[in-house]
């Protein structure tokens, strides 16, 4: 297969070395300067591109030059969605992979809504392929039917006698045409109301290996991220954020900025102080030289220790019911034996490699935004509101995102609002049409808020004389992510935020009495979904506790789970395959003298996908440990791109492993204690386990893979550490005593 399918969010190498001398930057280049060409390339969207001759629907564009452009309504943030969506179109269109390109869709909810979310354009909940599965295949099939119709008319043969393969339309008579040659004629035909989709046995791309469309651009440095965008006359903005959430500037002393060349303005904003300069370094030096006095009256000054103590107290009292099967309290009271455990989870930062950023240019009647947006609809309306525009007056040009993990879907569009406030203030002062690039430093990214909420879970269960679980009580304490957002009315019912209890209220195990209750304390720490949302904590507490019960009942952890999952064939399939591939039940090769080894299992469903993992650990004499091997099995329906499914499992495991081994955002006197990757460590290559991924064969509709691997690794590791040492770790991150 040709590997030249390319992503349009990149630019020519020719444009890379060019003048680009922002006033004051002061570099003189001694080389011949290529023309300023960059603005023609980046941030191109389906809307902005010159109309191609054949655009049968919102997703497919075919040019005279024979390129097939697939318009991606979803953000490419690493998860491979550009490739996945292009695969669906190319399959039904019978395109050659080499002619396929991908470009980001503009913000337009009328054409690009997530079909699983109602009138809302956004990427998340591992829903991209699932919600596009029919839509994008139909888009490809409709385009194909029209190309066939055009060829049939031109050659005067019945459409049924025409073949399309690898981008070539042909007839038994020997006549042939490319898509490009037929594009104009096809465009004149009516768009078919109904199309026939392929029989899966005829797939040439779906379920096969298709290389990523962005592989080359990401290996040669030409892939364009928001951080890289440069527009004529652009200024860089850095914002001094308050040390405590919600503080406002009271007095700003910018006198120390006078000697710094390149600084253009200092703006006192509602939530901080912005510095605009002609380069990052000038803006950074200026921001560091600012002296800001903050109004912090009445702000939260809590600490992590105090907060967790409060949460533990709350966990001892009944909460709002999230699930009630039978009378769990009574079943536990009547049981031969009962077991209790409390699990604790800190706040977590997303820490995407590319710190949050965006570029905006406000003109008289419109605002252009360049960013990697996970929630176009939220972002568009939030920016419009700040600037007094209508949402359709805000254009979003989609660029590659250097990771996101939920962060670029902020329900309040926080950093976009910050930038909109800046360009709004500039406009009030008479400066319009000046592009502003807001860059957050790593410290801003880590300290300016929006974390996976901290949680405490208290679990209790009863065992009968045969070691069967008779009752299960699960209380969760933690902030609601949805409260105060546009999603509250859909996702918070009777005081229960579904995303707080997902994975707990949906416990798959056959237990006669189950009670799940939730406390939702209000704390002034901004929280947000983080790769796999509620499952980030519920998978851990449920899968560790079931393991503890197995040990208490003297039963093998896989055997016990198997006995409780008879009604969940997908869980069972994943669990069985993981156990088999991991050699569950066979002795682990022993470590070096003084080392202990252990194996642990966990299985969990999130976003319609079931993942089972078996982790192998080695514990050294100094209580440090390594995760050596992870066997991961995924049941995600039909795997559209098996290699990408494997990549997402690998990446999801690493993301979960960073949280399991070291991730914690903590507070002291209302301030975040961490600031960068030295004190919020991310897993590094020497700590990388060997990961083996197996996909359960399936012909069912595809379900998501971006998130479901993440929540499973921490319980698998904790269970393995317990198997190795007998020590149960119930607080994340996992540190052995």
């Amino acid at each position: 297969m040709n590997r030249s399918a390319v992503d349009n969010v990149s630019r020519s190498r020719r444009a890379l070395l060019r003048a680009g001398l922002a006033a004051g930057a002061g570099l003189v280049l001694g080389v011949r300067l290529p023309v300023r060409a960059q603005t023609a390339g980046p941030g191109r969207t389906g809307a902005a591109t010159a109309a191609p001759p054949f655009a049968p629907n919102a997703f497919v564009r075919i040019g005279r030059d024979n390129t097939v452009s697939v318009v991606s309504k979803h953000l490419e943030m690493g998860q491979g969605v550009h490739t996945g969506l292009a695969t669906l179109v190319a399959e039904e269109l019978d395109a050659a992979w080499s002619q396929v390109r991908v470009e980001g869709a503009p913000a337009d909810v009328t054409r690009y809504a997530n079909t699983m979310w109602g009138p809302f354009q956004g990427t998340g909940g591992s829903s991209s392929i699932a919600n596009s599965w029919d839509q994008l295949r139909e888009a490809g099939a409709a385009a194909r039917a029209m190309l066939v119709g055009a060829a049939a008319a031109r050659w005067k043969v019945p459409p049924e006698s025409i073949r399309v393969a690898a981008g070539v339309v042909s007839h038994a008579s020997g006549r042939k045409a490319t898509f490009g040659e037929l594009a104009e004629a096809a465009a004149a035909l009516p768009v078919p109301a109904n199309v026939r989709l392929k029989n899966p046995k005829d797939y040439v791309y779906i379920g096969k290996h298709v290389p990523r469309t962005d592989a080359k651009a990401k290996a040669n440095g030409s892939a364009l991220y928001t951080q890289d965008l440069k527009l004529p006359g652009m200024l860089t903005a850095l914002v001094a954020h308050p040390p405590r959430f919600g503080a406002r500037p009271r007095r700003v002393d910018a006198s120390a900025l006078r000697g710094i060349p390149g600084v253009r303005s200092v703006l006192e904003m509602p939530r901080g102080v912005a510095v605009l300069a002609t380069s990052f370094w000038a803006a950074k030096k200026a921001r560091d030289a600012l002296v800001v006095e903050w109004n912090e009256t009445g702000l939260w000054r809590g600490s992590t220790a105090g907060q967790m103590a409060d949460y533990r107290k709350l966990a001892a009292t009944p909460g709002r019911p999230a699930r009630t099967d039978g009378d769990a309290a009574q079943a536990i009271a009547a049981a031969a034996r009962s077991l209790e455990a409390t699990y604790e989870f800190p706040y977590l930062a997303h820490a995407a490699m590319e710190p949050m950023n965006c570029v905006m240019r406000l003109s008289a009647d419109r605002c252009e935004v360049w960013t990697g947006a996970q929630s176009q609809t939220t972002d568009q309306s939030a920016v419009a509101e700040v600037l007094g525009l209508k949402p359709e007056q805000v254009t979003i040009h989609m660029l590659h995102a250097g990771g996101s993990f939920g962060r670029r879907a902020n329900p309040h569009a926080d950093y976009l609002v910050e930038c909109a406030e800046i360009v709004g203030r500039l406009a009030k002062a008479g400066t319009r049409d000046v592009p502003v690039k807001l860059l957050w430093t790593r410290e801003d990214d880590m300290r300016a808020g929006y974390y996976r909420p901290a949680f405490v879970h208290a679990l209790k269960a009863g065992l009968d004389g045969n070691g069967a679980i008779t009752g299960w009580q699960h209380r969760l304490v933690g902030q609601s992510i949805m409260a105060g957002t546009a999603f509250e009315k859909f996702l918070v019912k009777d005081g229960v935020d579904e995303t707080s209890v997902e994975g707990a209220a949906t416990l798959p195990y056959a237990i006669p009495a189950i009670a799940v209750e939730l406390h939702t304390p209000r704390v002034d720490v901004p929280v947000q979904w983080w790769r796999s949302v509620g499952s980030t904590h519920t998978a851990f507490s449920t899968e560790c506790f079931v393991d503890e019960l197995a040990v208490a009942a003297g039963r093998d952890p896989v055997t016990l789970r198997r006995s409780l999952l008879a009604k969940h064939p997908r869980h069972l399939a994943a669990l069985e395959l993981a156990a088999a591939r991991a050699g569950w039940g066979t002795p682990l090769p022993s470590g070096r003298p003084g080392e202990k080894r252990g194996r642990g299992v966990a299985v969990h469903e999130s976003f319609g996908t079931v993942v089972a993992q078996v982790a192998e650990v080695t514990v050294r004499a100094d209580a440090s440990y390594s995760v050596d091997r992870v066997v991961c099995v995924v049941e995600c329906g039909l795997a559209v791109n098996p290699d990408n499914v494997r990549a997402q499992m690998e990446g999801g495991i690493v993301y979960g492993l960073s949280a399991a081994t070291s991730g914690a955002i903590t507070f002291k006197d209302g301030q975040v204690e961490q600031s960068n990757v030295h004190d919020y460590p991310i897993l590094r290559m020497p700590e990388m386990p060997r990961i083996e991924v197996h996909i359960v064969p399936s012909t069912a509709k595809p379900t998501g893979v971006g998130e479901p691997a993440t929540p499973v690794i921490a319980p698998a590791v904790a269970n393995a550490l317990a198997a190795a040492t007998g020590q149960r770790l119930r607080r994340m991150p996992l540190r052995l005593a």
Binding site: L16, L27, D214, A215, A219, G221, M353, G402, N676, R684
Partner: protein, 154 residues
């Protein structure tokens, strides 16, 4: 005017550029070479890795004034060595990249490794790459791609 050679082209840096400007921002803001990324600004993530006189350095912590006159700087855009090309090909073949943001830095570190060590062991790879974070978790594929590139270099 300090003289540098960036991707084999001569660059005269004006005296007005503050000497404390990190090389990363000279490359990104002034030369529009944006392949090297800002990830942490404190030599902890490796996203900004470039070569200075053949050695991998963290450009975010390399002030302009610390560079020797005539220093030769190579960024991902100018990576033309045999090792570099082999790595880029391997990166595509193994489909290493996810978000891709860390990958220019990863490839620059790997190119420096292969330039000095034709047959790196897994331990060599781990040691050479430990300073490069990948939040998307592509480490397994990075290892595989480095091995693949080493193999093709013979």
């Amino acid at each position: 005017m300090p003289v540098l050679f960036v991707n084999q082209e001569r660059v005269d840096v004006a005296a007005s550029v503050p000497g404390d400007t990190p090389l990363l921002w000279v490359l990104r803001d002034s030369l529009d070479l944006t392949g090297a990324k800002y990830g942490c600004g404190m030599a902890q993530c490796g996203a900004c890795t470039v070569h200075v006189d053949g050695q991998p350095v963290r450009a975010c912590q390399t002030p302009l004034a610390s560079l020797k006159p005539g220093a030769e700087i190579t960024t991902i855009e100018g990576l033309a060595s045999r090792e570099g090309k082999a790595l880029q090909t391997a990166w595509e073949k193994v489909d290493v990249s996810q978000c891709g943001f860390c990958q220019p830095g990863q490839i620059m570190s790997a190119a420096a490794l292969l330039a000095s060590n034709k047959r790196p062991t897994d331990a060599d790879i781990d040691a050479a790459m430990a300073g490069n974070l990948c939040r998307c978790g592509t480490y397994q594929r990075i290892r595989a791609a480095i091995r693949e590139a080493a193999k093709t270099l013979g």
